[in-house]
């Protein structure tokens, strides 16, 4: 499926993501990394409340989005269910092993010029790009 380059929406949406993360830092002193927030909820700790609140906020955001922009391809299928299950396992395991995802490393970490985050972000971008290249241009199964 071809999608259009949407620079204005990308900039506005990105700025809101940056603002949301900045609020978490300035008020709560926390890094807004989604894999870290969810991962922390899955283990015994004394700071599960704010993690839960952030997650509830995200789910509320999803409901708001559906009400405001109905046809926005929220959660559209990109491949078969077994492949999505494998993808989910890899994303969950990999983000915890690597200590972050697109938000924690890609936004917060790069903003701090963290060497770890710069290396992690470059690595997952290249590995994701190679995966798509293989699927679309070598195997050709995904369109």
């Amino acid at each position: 499926m071809v999608t259009e380059f949407t620079p204005l929406a990308a900039l506005i949406g990105g700025a809101l993501i940056g603002l949301a993360s900045a609020l978490m830092l300035a008020f709560n002193g926390r890094i807004a990394g989604i894999s870290g927030i969810v991962g922390g909820l899955l283990q015994r700790s004394d700071d599960r409340t704010w993690r839960g609140m952030f997650l509830i906020g995200m789910l509320l955001g999803g409901v708001v989005l559906q009400a405001l922009v109905p046809g926005m391809m929220l959660g559209a299928a990109t491949s078969s269910l077994p492949l999505l299950a494998v993808a989910g396992l890899l994303v969950g395991f990999g983000t915890r092993m690597g200590g972050g995802c697109t938000s924690g490393h890609g936004v917060c970490g790069i903003s701090r010029l963290s060497t770890r985050s710069l290396i992690a972000t470059a690595t997952f971008m290249v590995s994701a790009g190679l995966t798509v290249w293989i699927l679309r241009h070598v195997v050709g199964g995904l369109s």
């Binding site: 499926m1 071809v2 999608t3 259009e4 990308a10 900039l11 949406g13 990105g14 809101l16 993501i17 940056g18 993360s21 900045a22 978490m24 830092l25 008020f27 709560n28 926390r30 890094i31 894999s35 969810v38 899955l42 704010w50 609140m53 952030f54 906020g57 955001g61 989005l65 922009v69 391809m73 929220l74 959660g75 990109t78 269910l81 492949l83 299950a85 993808a87 989910g88 396992l89 890899l90 994303v91 969950g92 990999g94 983000t95 915890r96 092993m97 200590g99 995802c101 890609g106 936004v107 770890r116 992690a120 690595t123 997952f124 971008m125 590995s127 994701a128 790009g129 995966t131 798509v132």
Partner: protein, 155 residues
């Protein structure tokens, strides 16, 4: 209202704002993400601008906050503590990238899209949570550093 209650409200509001930002940016559409990753296909560079804008907003706030002793509502900043560039960091990022490239979902958009309740995204998010639990089990079995610490590492 106590600082503790306000902290929870900030977390709730930030989560909501974060999700709306992802939606407006188009990142909850996994096809758009895959097209960003497909540099040699019908490339859609939108995601690069999403990251750029987020960093342009976040970086100056980080610069001003790191000189402060404490955030407004808590007693200290929980800065990531790890400095090591190790095999775990790189191997984890490689695995995450493969999963991201297979699906077009990273954790944030997956969770937001889960509110739609359709099978593809629920399967993805369910498997993602399993993957996180599996990693915790592996590290605990090995007696490595407690997964509690790794939670605070980068985010």
């Amino acid at each position: 209202m106590t600082a503790a209650v306000r902290q929870q409200l900030v977390a709730l509001g930030s989560g909501l704002l974060f999700a709306v930002g992802l939606g407006i940016a188009g990142m909850t559409n996994p096809h758009k993400v895959l097209n960003f990753l497909d540099v040699f296909g019908d490339w859609d560079p939108s995601l690069a601008l999403v990251m750029l804008a987020a960093i342009l907003v976040y970086a100056p706030v980080y610069q001003s906050q790191k000189r402060q002793g404490a955030p407004k509502l808590a007693d200290r900043f929980h800065w990531p503590t790890s400095r090591d560039v190790d095999v775990k960091l790189v191997a984890g990022a490689v695995l995450f990238g493969v999963g991201w490239g297979l699906s077009g979902f990273c954790p944030g958009p997956g969770i937001v899209a889960a509110t739609l309740g359709t099978a593809p995204v629920l399967v993805f998010v369910g498997a993602m949570i399993l993957g996180m639990l599996l990693y915790q089990k592996v590290t605990r079995a090995r007696g490595g550093p407690s997964s509690n610490q790794s939670a605070a590492r980068d985010g």
